[in-house]
């Protein structure tokens, strides 16, 4: 669908909502074209092609709202859905803070300068896609004879179009391309069997990592986990590898949501301009970061996005709001509305970046002397209300400042508030791999549960 057709269809939808009695409305169209080629043990295993699109419509009757979504874009069906949405908004209760966001002054940034859309998307023949995936897996197998099995390697490309209009006159759209290579392999020796994976992604095909590097890295990671031991239960420093430090940052940022604030559902309530982390930690948000995986020209309510500092040398500088949660707390939106087709906006992030330190990960391992270096976490034992944290961990045991052996079947536990206050070192190893980027983080002490 062309951009003009898309915006036309959305205007039709909000027009029908209006005609049926809505006082305001916004509508969103997301379409994507996704192609995945998977290989396993050198043979093609899957070819998936998913072309999908859907419309989400939010309507207001005064301060009452309802939201509808559909993958049936027939105009007759859309007309019916718009009418049902308005009827439903007649049943929900008026909430004085509910309403469209005032987009405010300013014009949309130059979308090409954001470097998230390869235009036109690279036309990559199927044989080439297969070759890239095979090369990644082959490199993993070539790493060591103990790489004996594979979950496969994939090459994926996705083009996504997002368009939005509202009855306040906002109209905007953007596109995003994404290319990715991933590889997951299994190392085996005697009775020990371990799986690990690696992936790389980029908005531009030409910037995508070499498939051989992805495969070799996956292979090395799986090998390094063979013959894990179970550590004794203890209290010790824990070094979070950059790959898992991201999740830690996501818990902190999640606690900054305006919704969590007014619901009393965050351990970070009433903490603005106070210390929420050690002074070594500075966290920024940059919605316009060139090539960022969370980059977007406007948020889920059409508000233009601006860079900001969230945590400045450990001091919390701002919570995150969309229009509704901002009004509830007597504040304005911070441009952090996130919108999916089937729901009203909520608070989300674009790109979150932890300011890197000067010391390498190896320096940090050396500094911690004895402790746990965590490379993978599983489970959902994180409570945003209390900050209580308890997850399953995999990694390596460190003695005398050096990695000794892999460890598994253990837990690490603490409280997010205390953990962030006791980040004693921030590594230099930051890489842009997802919407949250963090270097490795060394936490002074955590409880480790093992044998």
């Amino acid at each position: 669908m062309k951009d003009s057709e898309t915006l036309d269809l959305l205007s039709f939808v909000i027009g029908r909502a209006r005609a049926n009695g809505a006082t305001a409305a916004d509508a969103l169209l997301v379409s994507s074209d996704d192609s995945v080629v998977g290989v396993r043990k050198g043979e093609v295993e899957k070819i998936h092609r998913t072309r999908s699109r859907g419309i989400g419509l939010r309507v207001f009757r005064g301060h009452s709202q309802a939201v509808v979504s559909t993958s049936d874009l027939d105009r007759g069906a859309l007309e019916n859905l718009a009418r049902e949405a308005v009827e439903m908004a007649g049943e929900t209760q008026p909430d004085p803070f509910a309403g469209l966001s005032n987009p405010g002054p300013g014009s949309l940034p130059d979308i090409h300068a954001l470097e998230i859309h390869e235009d036109p998307p690279r036309d990559i023949p199927q044989e080439e896609r297969i070759r890239l995936a095979i090369e990644a897996e082959k490199a993993a197998f070539g790493e060591d004879p103990r790489i004996v099995n594979s979950e496969g390697a994939e090459f994926q490309s996705t083009v996504t179009h997002v368009a939005m209009v509202n009855t306040e006159g906002f109209s905007g759209s953007y596109a995003r391309t994404l290319y990715g290579i991933s590889c997951s392999v299994i190392a085996r020796e005697d009775d020990s069997m371990e799986r690990d994976y690696w992936y790389e992604q980029s908005h531009y095909f030409r910037n995508l990592a070499h498939p051989g590097d992805v495969g070799r890295h996956a292979g090395r990671r799986a090998l390094s986990r063979l013959h894990p031991r179970r550590p004794q239960t203890t209290t010790c420093p824990v070094l979070f590898d950059a790959e898992v430090a991201r999740s830690l940052i996501s818990h902190l940022v999640g606690g900054l949501s305006g919704y969590a604030l007014y619901r009393n559902a965050t351990y970070l309530k009433d903490r603005e301009n106070t210390r929420v982390a050690s002074s070594g930690l500075t966290i920024r948000e940059d919605p316009l970061l060139k090539g960022g995986f969370g980059t977007r020209p406007f948020d889920g309510e059409g508000v233009l996005s601006k860079p900001k500092i969230l945590v400045d040398h450990g001091i919390l500088r701002t919570y995150l709001f969309d229009s509704y949660s901002g009004k509830k707390m007597g504040r304005s939106t911070t441009g952090n509305a996130s919108r999916s087709l089937g729901d009203v906006p909520h608070v989300g992030i674009s790109n979150v970046l932890v300011e890197p330190g000067t010391r390498t990960k190896d320096d940090l391992i050396h500094d911690m002397k004895r402790g746990l270096y965590v490379t993978e976490l599983i489970g959902f034992g994180v409570n945003q209300v209390t900050g209580d944290y308890s997850r399953g961990a995999f990694g390596f045991w460190v003695e005398n400042g050096e990695i000794q052996f892999p460890v598994a079947e253990m837990t690490i536990a603490g409280n997010l508030d205390e953990m962030f206050q006791s980040v004693v070192e921030v590594g230099s190893d930051i890489r842009l791999r997802s919407s949250i980027s963090s270097p490795s983080l060394l936490v002074e002490n955590m409880r480790v549960g093992g044998g």
Partner: protein, 484 residues
């Protein structure tokens, strides 16, 4: 009763025929083009789903939603290869196009042959005879129910400061047309209510959450069940206000009945799915016939339980569901199979080929995973704990299939000494090794409970509704991830 099922199935076929022109001639034509020496299997999966939700917080019903989702997935299987393509614009031309795209997986020339479309015959009644009218409750009534839940939670205890509640209903019509011409159709109702409460005391805050659901008429959650969910969520939040740090390390753990069955789902269920075992990537690969649990343990996956959230009349490949014995008296008996993995392993499909929606190809998934009851009095099991954790409610869990390491996290648990409950403990993650954790099950209670019907399982980016069931059990030497 058998007739009722058949008529519902042919109604669904009629629906797709009327709405999208998917009549027998078109289907025969499209799948007839999916022939050829290199093609082992093929199917088309039609879906039309409508869902409605209403949610409340701060004593206000703030939002309502209605969602329509429609599409068709085409799949071609050739050896171990899968080609998959979808369309949301359902017309004969687009159906031909997706089957062509999916075909690109297979080598060889295009084969075409005449196909006879045969509606599947099923003799049993539907496991969930729930009609649209059973789900179609006026919004004003749902609104009232949500506000009732609010007052039920708040009147439970003045420390309740926030109540969030939601009700949702879904009706999914599906039709699977296989390359052998067999057509299976079904209508899948799904109802869910949920209440989350935040309680506060002396600046400390805690949450509690409870819900009910299943393939049931909406009337079954109205009134008392929803009020009970609200009181239960409030009770959990209040209990947790008094929680102390949980001890850490390896210790005996008693799991309460019902939802703690998530242990089975994570520790053994995923590891017994056919795909991982065909590829030899599961910690359970090649271990059929071995002792992987104590002889007290018999575990089944049962997709045939009436009205349960994880139940299906037929799976998403048209295979009737069944009760599959996974572990019998401690011995590993079988895997969970879809058609692809069953064919490649020389086994029979077990009715576990499931998919989130038309946008996803099926894979082996659990339905309702249950440990059968033993003979021990559950109170005796708790009393048997010298020093250990008694866990009665859990949040989510996760597993590393290859190494077998799995976790699940408590949301309500108690420290027990000398057989007596001492105090509630704060949320802790429990970690174990799937292939040996059940060998340390030392007691199995007589009190099998199924979970309340709100479980969702994620695998490879696809979510499907599932159930679990467990009697009270005692497990030796489980690692508890506390802070004390």
């Amino acid at each position: 009763m058998g007739r009722e099922q058949e008529s519902s199935s042919s109604e669904v076929m009629k629906f797709f025929e009327n709405r999208f022109g998917a009549h027998e001639g078109v289907l025969a034509d499209i799948l007839g083009s999916a022939m050829g020496r290199h093609i082992d299997d093929a199917d088309l999966y039609f879906e039309y789903t409508t869902a409605q939700s209403l949610s409340m917080e701060e004593g206000m019903v703030k939002k309502g939603g209605r969602h329509v989702s429609q599409g068709v997935g085409a799949r071609i299987l050739s050896g171990e290869k899968t080609g998959y393509a979808i369309t949301e614009e359902i017309r004969p031309e687009t159906l031909h196009e997706i089957i062509r795209t999916a075909r690109s997986i297979s080598l060889g020339t295009e084969g075409v042959s005449a196909l006879r479309i045969t509606p599947a015959r099923r003799d049993s009644a539907s496991l969930y005879p729930v009609s649209d009218t059973d789900l179609d409750v006026p919004l004003s009534l749902k609104k009232e129910l949500l506000l009732e839940a609010d007052s039920a939670a708040r009147s439970q205890d003045p420390r309740v400061v926030q109540v969030m509640a939601s009700v949702s209903t879904e009706m999914k019509s599906v039709m699977v047309v296989r390359r052998d011409g067999l057509v299976s159709a079904d209508r899948l109702p799904l109802v869910r209510v949920n209440v989350t409460v935040i309680a506060e005391e002396n600046g400390q805050r805690q949450t509690g959450s409870f819900g009910y659901g299943g393939r049931i008429p909406f009337s079954e959650v109205m009134g008392e069940p929803l009020r009970h969910a609200a009181r239960e969520a409030a009770r959990q939040a209040i209990v947790n206000l008094g929680a102390r740090p949980c001890p850490t390390g390896s210790m005996p753990v008693v799991l309460g009945p019902g939802w703690p069955g998530i242990l089975l789902h994570e520790a053994i269920g995923h590891g017994l799915e056919g795909d991982f075992n065909r590829k030899g990537t599961s910690a359970f690969s090649g271990r059929i016939g071995e002792h992987v649990a104590s002889s007290l343990c018999t575990i089944v996956d049962d997709g045939t339980l009436p009205h349960r959230r994880g139940s299906l009349n037929v799976d998403d490949e048209g295979t009737p569901t069944q009760r599959t014995v996974l572990i019998e008296n401690g011995v590993l008996k079988g895997y969970l199979q879809d058609r692809l993995n069953a064919r490649l392993m020389g086994a029979a499909p077990t009715g576990n080929g499931r998919r989130e929606s038309y946008a996803h190809p099926p894979m082996p998934r659990m339905t309702n995973t249950i440990m059968l009851p033993g003979e021990t009095d559950p109170e005796e099991i708790v009393r048997s704990l010298d020093k250990g954790v008694y866990a009665v409610n859990f949040g989510g869990g996760q597993v590393d299939i290859t190494s077998g390491k799995f976790v699940f996290s408590t949301s309500e648990a108690y420290w027990v000494e000398n057989g007596r409950i001492q105090y509630p403990v704060r949320g802790a993650t429990l970690i174990g090794n799937g292939p040996d954790v059940l060998t340390r099950v030392s007691m199995v209670g007589s009190d099998l409970h199924l979970d309340p019907g709100v479980g969702t399982c994620g695998k490879d980016g696809q979510s499907v509704p599932v159930g679990v069931g467990l009697p009270t059990i005692r497990v030796e030497n489980l690692t508890v991830g506390g802070t004390a």
